[in-house]
């Protein structure tokens, strides 16, 4: 932790602005060596939390101006990491960023490891654990809802919920401990009923949080969706139609093949991640059937399956096979009857069976898409879209800790109901508190350190 670290804080690609962030004891002296301010007198004051206009200049091997920049000085501890921080706002674009970063590294900074800035912020007490993790979620948010959840965590809303839970538990604990240590004193009793009520309260809160996890996870990671069906049913048209209306972000990772391109849709705030879009396009192009094995594999990866059938040509054995495969895998699915703009060869009531829900659409002409969006939202349980975002936990880690806290509180409750004595109750209650403490970093342990920092990425 002695090194001064630096990294590009903005995502790769071309943009109007790119930011290089430097944090550590050498940050100020490094910038002083490479920055040529427009207003020298003002720069001389080195006043914190000010923006200075100027140029980044390389002196060796010969003097070169790398870019015109805005530099912000933030003196620790009042900075993101708690250390001295310098941010260089330069023109976004691969080259200026690369050259300036290179220069900064030559001056003695080290390239930050993934998540190192946030790590320092956490270790310096500038963020608690759930906030540090929330930053990652803000960055990665793909839809407004996802952003909303992440921001509320960043503001400490999750922390508030956890703190209030802890307080309730501590109140019960305090009473139990007092009556154990001072048996002769007349302590204002907390009746059994009161304790049970409080425990039920806490269990209710945790249930809410656990329920929010599935939804929260979807908001954070997106709903993995696959579009399957025999060739030429219109999968590609459907994809295009959806993308036209609902495209969210396209992530283009340089140096990778087209196969790995992810397409995101934003449907009612939920990020729908269409997988194997390449496959979809390919099979259309080559009029090739994708094998059964491949179909099964795709289905297994998905959270949601969109099965497309052609109303104009009618249902064939193959279609039934596909539907059967999806049902066997027990995945959520929507049956889409496409090409209703053409003459129908499908008796919907008879052939599709009464139990199978289906939607009629025309991908080519954009008909029925609104109903499709609504159906997707319903499937995701968007009744919960109205859930307070503070109650949405998004991380596996949080889910785990809450599950354990729940178990301990349930043990407490059953111990109380079996009339076990107070000192047993305190064991389970304290265990519940420890589990909750893992979420905010109040519980120190080696395992936690390892697990949490795996997720962080460069620049943040």
């Amino acid at each position: 932790m002695d090194d001064t670290i630096a990294a590009i804080a903005t995502p790769p690609g071309e943009g109007g602005i790119g930011i290089i962030r430097i944090s550590g004891s050498e940050a100020f002296s490094i910038i002083n060596r490479i920055f040529q301010p427009k207003n020298a007198a003002r720069w001389a004051t080195q006043k914190s939390h000010q923006i200075y206009l100027g140029k980044i200049v390389r002196h060796k091997p010969k003097k070169v101006v790398l870019d015109e920049v805005l530099v912000t000085l933030m003196r620790g501890p009042h900075s993101f990491t708690g250390e001295d921080v310098v941010e260089i706002n330069c023109h976004g674009g691969y080259l200026p960023l690369k050259l300036i970063l290179q220069l900064v590294l030559e001056q003695g900074a080290r390239l930050a490891t993934p998540g190192e800035f946030s790590k320092r912020a956490f270790l310096n007490g500038r963020l608690d654990l759930s906030q540090a993790e929330a930053i990652i979620d803000v960055i990665r948010a793909k839809t407004e809802k996802g952003l909303d959840v992440a921001l509320s965590h960043l503001e400490g809303k999750l922390k508030e919920v956890i703190d209030s839970l802890s307080d309730k538990i501590i109140r019960i604990l305090a009473y139990l401990e007092a009556s154990i240590d001072f048996p002769d004193d007349e302590i204002e009793a907390m009746s059994r009923e009161e304790m049970l009520a409080s425990l039920d309260d806490c269990l209710g809160d945790i249930a809410k949080l656990l329920k929010g996890f599935q939804t929260g996870k979807i908001y954070r990671e997106g709903l993995k969706t696959v579009i399957i069906g025999k060739p030429n049913v219109g999968k590609s048209s459907l994809l295009n139609a959806l993308l036209k209306e609902n495209r969210a972000i396209v992530t283009d990772i340089p140096g990778t093949t087209r196969d790995v391109i992810e397409e995101y849709l934003n449907i009612g705030g939920v990020a729908i991640k269409i997988i194997d879009t390449a496959g979809i396009r390919q099979t259309e192009d080559l009029v090739e059937k994708i094998g059964v094995e491949k179909t099964i594999e795709l289905i297994s990866q998905a959270d949601l399956v969109l099965i497309v059938v052609d109303a104009a040509t009618g249902l064939t054995e193959e279609d039934y096979q596909v539907i059967e495969l999806v049902k066997q895998a027990e995945k959520k699915f929507l049956l889409l009857v496409n090409k209703i703009d053409l003459k129908q060869n499908l008796n919907q009531d008879l052939e599709l069976g009464a139990e199978d829900k289906f939607l009629t659409i025309s991908a080519k002409y954009g008909q029925g898409l609104e109903k499709l969006e609504q159906a997707i939202q319903d499937l995701v349980g968007s009744g919960e879209l109205k859930t307070d975002s503070a109650y949405m936990i998004t991380r596996e880690r949080h889910y785990e800790s809450l599950r354990r806290a729940k178990k301990h509180l349930e043990d407490t409750k059953s111990a109380l109901l079996s009339n076990l004595s107070y000192d047993f109750l305190t064991i389970d209650l304290k265990a519940a508190l420890t589990a909750l403490g893992e979420i905010n970093g109040q519980t120190a342990s080696e395992d936690i350190i390892d697990r949490i920092f795996k997720d962080f990425c460069i620049g943040k």
Binding site: M1, Y422, D423, T426, I427, G441, A444
Partner: protein
């Protein structure tokens, strides 16, 4: 002053209160030539305050002292006038013995024990200075010019250092109970570079039994014969009652009217008092809505008329004490025999001590008891025992004796004091122990007697008896594991019906049955008795270990986690300034305390979990660097 050479000893114990007695006896029993110096031989083992030993957590300490071979348990068993088990309605981890002592008898027996102990010399003297050379103790010097040489000193001066008695507007130099204070030793300690703080504590008035109207009070009887010591049996002791009454609004009004004459509120008392033992004026001010407070009347002995007024600790002026007493039901005509008073005293800031209770700065100087900022006879005795043991071990050049938080309340006590310090007189509470279920008062011997034996404080005879008990317990548990019971057993069915226990559908073991909360060992043993009759001690252990196995396992798992951090050692040479990422406060505290492990570091106030995470990362980085170097 002319000095003279008065002799050389291995260990010198300064002060013969509860800490001093344990220290002196332990050192002597471990084979060291020991000298104990006291301001007054008549005040050895004095109980200046509550005439009781035990209670939650305190009772646990006494059992542990006894399990290690200390004296307090045996002493109280021979001198109590009432004994009760508290918290019987709660689980075994918090059952606590509490006894009321015949004060005078308690002292006499202890004085006798000290005087008759081989290897131990008792002298009356006032120590005025410690002799230290090159950071190591050499001896002590007394007021009358005697110079005693030694290799280790145990300081157990209680509340006598620069003691000041305060009653209302009157104050004077003095130790507890009308004794004189030790005035020069404090200066000597400061000159040696030790830091002292100032605390206060108080005691209530004593009242003449004959002037109390007991018919107006509520009686609280004692229990059947119980003992603190694992070695006691069949000692015939009385079991008298104590009595309860309450203060009322008139009492409180008098107190409020006279607060300006109360030393605490008039600013006369600088020391900080204990939260857990507040004076009556504290209680009235802090809890103004409470209409009444409890007052327990405890007899101080069989051959005295003095009654201790528990709950009325005070330093209000004497005239106010008289007035408020007369407003209390049953005490309308009560006569005060000794007035209540507050005492202010110097104490040694305990973070200057190692876990062995030796001073970090001065080799060979150990400190134990109220001088370390604790309150209570039991807390003092526990420290005294450990300090005496470690002084002896040092003289013998052996490894020191340290108990962990997961092994004993004594471990919790010393770790708390030395690692966290204390800003009020420290009192042991069960909630301070993380592993309460493991540290029960019933299993103190199973946890500690083996260690006591290895130290030489447990006789061979006692040790053999202990081993036998252990064997009986494990055998009986095994029998329960292996004995299968059949649903056909009539007696069993009858018992189930009586106890409202579910009928058996298939065969099961006695062990499984005992796990049911509604069944006891006695119930099952009546139908399936053991071959040889077993004592209560043994059957109690069998019952607890089987019934609470699930919870005991949970605690053991928690202890394992705890041990992980305790095992991560921190070198005393570690430069905390080099570790960036630590908060300033943590850096300062860690540099000052020099904790021995990450576990201990986590308990220092000002060191947060985040700081611990930093230390863990740092240690891991160091470890990796070392590994890389080897590659």
């Amino acid at each position: 002053m002319e000095t003279y050479n008065a002799g050389t000893y291995d260990v010198i114990v300064i002060g013969a209160g509860h800490a001093g007695c344990e220290a002196a006896l332990a050192a002597a029993r471990m084979g060291c030539k020991t000298l104990v110096l006291t301001l007054s031989i008549d005040q050895i083992a004095l109980m200046p305050c509550n005439p009781s030993i035990g209670g939650p957590a305190k009772g646990h300490l006494v059992r542990e002292i006894d399990a290690l071979g200390g004296q307090m348990g045996i002493n109280i068993d021979h001198s109590y006038i009432q004994i009760r088990m508290l918290n019987t309605g709660k689980g075994p981890a918090v059952h606590a013995l509490r006894a009321q002592a015949d004060k005078w008898l308690y002292q006499r027996i202890m004085i006798d024990t000290l005087e008759k102990e081989p290897n131990l010399t008792v002298k009356q003297a006032t120590v005025v200075g410690l002799l230290v050379k090159n950071g190591r103790v050499q001896g002590v010097i007394t007021q009358t010019g005697a110079v005693f040489g030694c290799r280790a000193i145990v300081l157990t001066t209680g509340t006598y250092l620069l003691g000041k008695i305060i009653i209302g507007d009157v104050s004077y130099s003095g130790g507890p109970n009308g004794q004189f204070a030790a005035t020069e030793l404090s200066t000597s300690l400061r000159d040696l570079g030790l830091e002292l703080g100032r605390f206060k504590t108080g005691t209530p008035m004593r009242v003449d039994k004959r002037t109390v109207d007991f018919s107006k009070l509520i009686e609280q009887p004692g229990d059947s014969s119980l003992y603190f010591s694992f070695t006691s049996k069949n000692i015939n002791r009385p079991n008298i009652s104590c009595w309860l009454t309450y203060t009322n609004e008139r009492t409180h009004q008098i107190i409020r009217n006279n607060l300006h004459r109360s030393p605490l509120y008039s600013g006369m008392i600088k020391g900080v008092g204990p939260r857990y033992c507040p004076s009556i004026e504290d209680k009235v001010v802090r809890f103004p809505d409470k209409p009444s407070h409890q007052v327990f009347l405890e007899l101080e002995g069989l051959n005295t008329q003095e009654v201790y007024m528990q709950g009325l600790s005070t330093s209000l002026p004497e005239d106010v004490q008289v007035e408020l007493l007369h407003t209390i039901k049953g005490l309308e005509k009560a006569e005060i025999m000794r007035a209540g008073y507050a005492i202010e005293y110097d104490y040694l800031i305990p973070t200057q001590l190692k876990l062995t209770l030796e001073c970090k700065k001065i080799a060979g100087l150990f400190s134990a008891g109220q001088i370390n900022g604790t309150s209570g006879y039991e807390e003092a005795a526990a420290q005294g025992l450990i300090a005496g043991i470690n002084a002896a071990l040092q003289v013998k050049e052996k490894e020191p004796f340290i108990l962990k938080r997961s092994e004993a309340y004594i471990g919790v006590l010393i770790d708390d004091l030395v690692t966290k310090g204390t800003n009020e007189p420290y009192r042991m509470l069960t909630s301070r122990a993380e592993y309460r279920l493991i540290l029960r008062q019933d299993n103190a011997d199973l946890r500690l007697t083996e260690k006591g034996y290895e130290l030489g404080l447990i006789t061979e005879e006692r040790y053999q008896a202990f081993l036998k008990k252990k064997e009986q317990i494990s055998k009986e548990i095994k029998r329960f594991e292996e004995t299968v019971v059949s649903p056909q057993n009539q007696a069993l069915q009858k018992m189930f019906a009586e106890k409202n226990s579910t009928e058996l559908k298939s065969g099961t073991t006695l062990l499984e049955l005992l796990r049911r909360p509604e069944l006891s060992y006695a119930d099952l043993a009546a139908i399936y008795p053991p071959e040889t009759e077993l004592s209560n001690d043994v059957t109690e252990q069998v019952e607890i270990q089987i019934k609470y196995e699930g919870y005991i396992k949970k605690q053991m798992a928690q202890i394992e986690q705890f041990e992980k951090l305790e095992k991560k050692r921190l070198s005393p040479d570690l430069n905390y300034e080099n570790i960036t990422g630590l908060s300033r406060e943590a850096q300062q505290k860690l540099a000052k305390f020099k904790p021995e492990s990450i576990g201990q570091a986590s308990r220092i106030s000002g060191v947060s979990p985040a700081d611990i995470n930093v230390l863990l990362i740092y240690l891991e980085q160091q470890r990796r660097k070392a590994v890389q170097k080897d590659d």
